[in-house]
Each structure stands twice: as C-alpha cells, then as structure tokens.
C-alpha cells in the first residue's frame, strides 16, 4: 500500500490525533518557555514603564524610558560596537566551524586527536579563557613577543587600545566557539549519506567541486542554525566585555556592549525600569533580525 493511500485513510481524526501528540511532545519546552521566558519578558515590559527601584515602583513614566534610551548617544555607541563585533565574529565562527568539521569528518588518521584539539578551546569556561587571553595578549605578553620576532615591534595592548579592543574580543570568541560550531556542522554533515559523495565521484567531480556543489548546499539547515545561534550569541556579548574592561566598557567606550550597558544601568544606577526598556528594545532588535534572516534565506528547511 502506498504512503499516500495510508495518509488519506487517516483522515480527520488522524489529524486531530497527530495534533494532540504534537502538543504533548512539545509540552515540556513550551512550559519552560512560558514560565521562565515569556513571563520575565512580560514583567520587563511592565516595569519598563516605571521608575523601578529595588523594592518596586517609584512612579509611572509611561513609555518615556524607551524615548530616553533611544535618545541616549551612549546606547547607540553600544549598538555600533555590537554591530562591529557581530560583523567580525559571525563569519569567522561559521567559516572556522565548517572548515574544521569538514576536516574531522574525513576518514583520516588520528581523527580523534584532531577532533579533540579543535574542540579544546570550547571546553574551558569563558571566564578562564578570557583570563588566560588577557595574560597572553598583554603589552609584553606571548603574542607580542612572537610578533616582535617577525618584525612587528609595537607592543600593542590589544584589549586596551580603542581600535583593537573589540576585534580582539571577536577573534578570541571566534576561536573559542569554533569548536561548538564545528560540532553543529558535524551533526549536519552526518546527515548527508555517503552515496551522494560516491555519485559525485562517479560523475568525475574533484574534491573542491564536490564540496561547493554538493556538500555546501546540502548543509542549508546547518548554515541557518549556525548563523542564527552565532548572531544571537554575538549580540548578547557580556562576559568577555565585562572581564576585559573591568565592567567599565572602556577604553573610551570601545568595549561597551548593549547588555553591559543594561547591567550597568540596573546594578550601578539601580534603574531597573530604564534597564528593562533597554532590554526590550534589544530583544525587539533581535526578533527583527531573526525574522529578516528567515525571510532572506527562505524556506531553507522542509516546511
């Protein structure tokens, strides 16, 4: 009996049952989503309309917090910073991750060794890696010593010079998260059956052509996933910016990210309402960004 005939026989009660099972299967994640995400967002929107101190409302300000945030040049500076950072980090992460995944997916010798080596930077916690990186990227640290050997003798304090601070953090993060992106791409690569490669080989395609014409397009669901996770992670940057700048967002606002500014407003100035407005604006920005991604890169998955 063909598959089509079976489905037709299912009919309406089949659909209802399928829907019920669907809801049952997604019940747990939806519950978590509702309680620990939807509710806090609602709460944030609520308090963003007030001057909100530690113990609660100190008077309503309507939607003015949003106006003040959008008129704050420091907020826009932080958005510019994060835009610059994202533009550096996302392509680097995706390219590195894909490159490493393709390598370790081959049946090469010492595959486990390479897989472990490539994944290693992702294993340690971001705080530990950042602390080590600060040490290595010091004015007289390891990197500058190595660079002076090849003639670059400037001893730049990479994290503390306004022009290099953000790109350095981007480089550091691309390096540490490349292992995780490698994992994601690896999972996607696994879904491509061997026969596809064999068919391409029969057809006479070389390795390079096979990769670009066969593998790369088949990885569309993987690309979409990695791109979304990468961009959203980049926009939320906080840990490294905090550690590197000591929480100040310096030097001269170079490492001030929107989330760092949000935390400063909430924790140092105790302006929870204002900070909440900032958070909601950032959230709206990310929603628009993700929607745009989905529309632009279209039906990349079977609907």
């Amino acid at each position: 009996m063909s598959a089509e005939a079976y489905r037709v026989r299912g009919g309406r009660p089949g659909r209802a049952r399928e829907a019920l099972v669907g809801y049952a299967f997604v019940l747990a994640p939806m519950a978590v989503f509702g309680v620990f995400f939807l509710f806090p967002i609602g709460y944030a929107i609520y308090i963003s309309r007030y001057n909100w101190g530690v113990y609660g409302s100190q008077g309503s300000v309507g939607w003015h917090n949003y106006g003040w945030v959008l008129h704050d040049p420091i907020f826009w500076r932080s958005m510019r910073n994060i835009g610059e950072y994202t533009a550096w980090v996302v392509p680097a992460q995706m390219a590195l991750g894909l490159f490493m995944a393709v390598i370790v997916n081959q049946k090469i010798k010492a595959r486990t060794f390479f897989r472990s080596a490539f994944y290693f930077p992702s294993i340690a916690s971001s705080a530990a890696i950042t602390t080590i990186a600060i040490f290595i990227l010091n004015a007289d640290g390891l990197l500058n010593k190595a660079l002076s050997l090849v003639g670059y003798d400037h001893h730049t304090p990479w994290f503390y010079t306004t022009t290099t601070a953000m790109p350095t953090i981007a480089g550091l993060n691309a390096w540490t998260t490349s292992g995780t992106m490698m994992l994601f791409y690896l999972a996607s690569l696994q879904a491509i059956p061997n026969d596809v490669y064999e068919a391409a080989a029969i057809d006479g395609a070389g390795r390079w052509r096979t990769f670009w014409k066969v593998t790369f397009p088949l990885l569309k669901p993987g690309h979409f996933f990695v791109a979304v996770v990468s961009i959203l992670g980049a926009v939320k940057l906080y840990d490294q910016a905090f550690i590197v700048s000591g929480g100040t967002g310096g030097p001269d606002y170079a490492t001030l990210t929107p989330v760092l500014l949000l935390v400063q407003e909430a924790v140092q100035n105790i302006r929870f309402g204002y900070a909440a407005a900032m958070g909601v604006i950032l959230l709206a920005f990310m929603v628009v960004l993700t929607l745009a991604q989905r529309l632009l890169f279209g039906r990349s998955e079977a609907a």
């Binding site: 897989r115 996607s188 397009p217 998955e301």
Partner: protein, 309 residues
C-alpha cells in the same frame, strides 16, 4: 527519495537511479591512472597533515600553559615562562585539601548529568514534533523557542530570582536545573537534524502499525545519533561551565559547583594563578571525558543510504 535537489550537483540521471536501487559501487576514478597524480596527491596529503597538526598544537598551547602554571609557585607566575623553574605540586595539594573541590565536582557532575539527560529527552521529543508532526501554531511556537535565544540572561535575572524565592527554590538543585533548562539550542538542533531524515522511514514504520511514540523511539531517535551526541556534549559543557546562574542561585559552599570554586581564586587585585590553574585542570577532565566518549558517534556517513521508497 533522499532529500537531494538533483539540479544542484547534476550527475547524470543514471547515477540517481543507481542511488535509489542501491546499485552503487564505491571508489572514484582510479587514482594511479593519471601519471604524476599519485605523487602530488601524497604531497598534498603530507602538507595537509602537517598544517593540521600545527594548528592542533596551537589549540593545545593554552592548555599546556595551564598545566605548566599549575606546577609553579605564585611569584613565578608574574613572568611568562613555558616551563616552571621550580616544579611544585603545592597548588594541587592546596586545592584538594583546603578547598572542598571533591564536593564541588560532585555537585557539578550531578547537576550536569541531570540537565543533559532531561534535555536529551525533551529536545528529542520536541525536535521530532516540530520537524515531523503537524499541529496548529507549530511555526509560531517554534519561533517562540528561537526567541528564548534572544533574551539576555541579565534581563531575566530579577523576575526569575523573585519567582524562585517565592517558590523556595533559591539555593536548591531543583531550582538551578529548572533555570538551566535553556533547551532552545538543543531543540533547534534536533529539529534541523530530523528535517534531514528521509520521510520514507517513518512511513514505513506507520505502515507497520507503529504509533507516534514508537516511531519516535524505535526509528527516529536511533537515527539521530550525531545530533544526540552534539546535544549531550553541548548541554553537559554548558551546565559544567556555567557561572552566572550558579553564582546567583547556589549560595552556600556545600552547593557550589566547580566554576564557583574556581572563582574563589580570582580576587580584585590579583589572581592565585597556580591554584586557579590546578583547579582548572581538575575541572576540565570530566568534560574531556564526555567529549571523547560522545564524539565517537560522529562517524562519517552514518546516515543510511539506499532507502527503499
């Protein structure tokens, strides 16, 4: 039919037929047929291996420096040196005896395993449902899942904290596990993976009379090996390396995780490098173990070919 668009790589139709009927013989053009090809092939190979080995060593350098620093004494850490001048195990001794690291590791292990397991089950079911089952509002709900990736933890902090206080879940393992069930990435990953599995398998199972859950448990889940391995590694590591929520929700030293233990060595004006590195080495080992075990499931070409339509 496999989920391939024939236009994108354009082999002759005959090749596709061969695919479907499983009538494929392996190998490509015989390598030695073109003169000189073999030697240049080998040169490329050696070069590639050399480059990869160099890169791998580069990736290992921070870890080597970590181990080396853990064997130094504090004054020596001010200056950079690859190997210690005076080898000393004092840091390891202090970490294990003066600080309760055995307990921290126990806590971290229990929490990470619990979070990973719950996520595997929930993300597996949910990912399958989002990929293969039809129910009204599916796309909206999935976008909601994606939306959780957009919410910075710091924005959620105060409302979540107040909720947990109300339910008496502060400084409890239950509260911590609930908060750490981020789920979005794992759900997303499982869904994307399930989308690439050919529909024929499920339909075959349905024809055999399997219900939804059985189809999921017996057919889809075993096929999702690589995705499950990725989720395991990801969740375990995410839970193990978390500092933000652990520092806020686990407040008494007997509840501390490894990361909170590590933070005890970082102070305002200085860091106790040898102890921090020694503790870090101890802290990294379980993740390495989990990774080595589960990366075996990334086997080239694990997705079965030759699916009968």
């Amino acid at each position: 039919m496999t989920a391939i668009e024939p236009e994108s790589f354009g082999p002759p139709a005959a090749a596709i037929d061969n695919l479907v009927t499983g009538n494929v013989d392996g190998g490509g053009p015989s390598r030695g047929a073109i003169p000189g090809r073999a030697r240049s092939e080998r040169a490329i190979r050696v070069g590639a291996y050399a480059a990869m080995t160099a890169i791998s060593l580069l990736f290992f350098i921070p870890f080597l420096w970590t181990v080396s620093t853990s064997l130094k004494t504090l004054p020596e850490t001010a200056y950079f040196s690859l190997l210690p001048n005076h080898w000393s195990l004092q840091a390891y001794h202090d970490v294990w005896t003066k600080y309760d690291f055995a307990r921290y590791i126990e806590n971290s292990a229990g929490l990470s395993v619990a979070i990973t397991l719950i996520t595997l089950v929930v993300a597996g079911l949910g990912g399958y449902a989002f990929a293969r089952l039809r129910f009204p509002g599916r796309e909206i709900l999935f976008f909601g899942v994606l939306a959780t990736l957009m919410v910075p933890d710091q924005l959620r902090l105060v409302p979540v904290y107040e909720m947990l206080v109300k339910w008496h879940l502060i400084n409890t393992y239950t509260g911590y596990v609930l908060i750490k069930l981020g789920l979005a990435t794992s759900l997303f990953l499982m869904r994307q993976y399930f989308l690439t599995i050919p529909k024929d398998l499920e339909e075959a199972a349905k024809l055999d009379g399997a219900g939804y859950f059985k189809t999921f448990w017996r057919v889809m889940l075993p096929l999702a090996g690589p995705a499950l391995a990725a989720v395991t590694i990801l969740e375990f590591q995410g839970a193990w390396n978390d500092f933000f929520w652990a520092s806020l929700l686990l407040q008494t030293p007997d509840h501390y995780t490894v990361q909170l233990g590590l933070a005890q060595f970082v102070f305002q004006y200085h860091t106790e490098w040898p102890k921090l590195m020694a503790a870090s080495v101890i802290a990294i080992l379980p993740i390495v173990a989990v990774y080595l075990v589960f990366q075996r499931y990334f086997v080239a070409g694990v997705a079965s070919a030759g699916v009968k339509g």
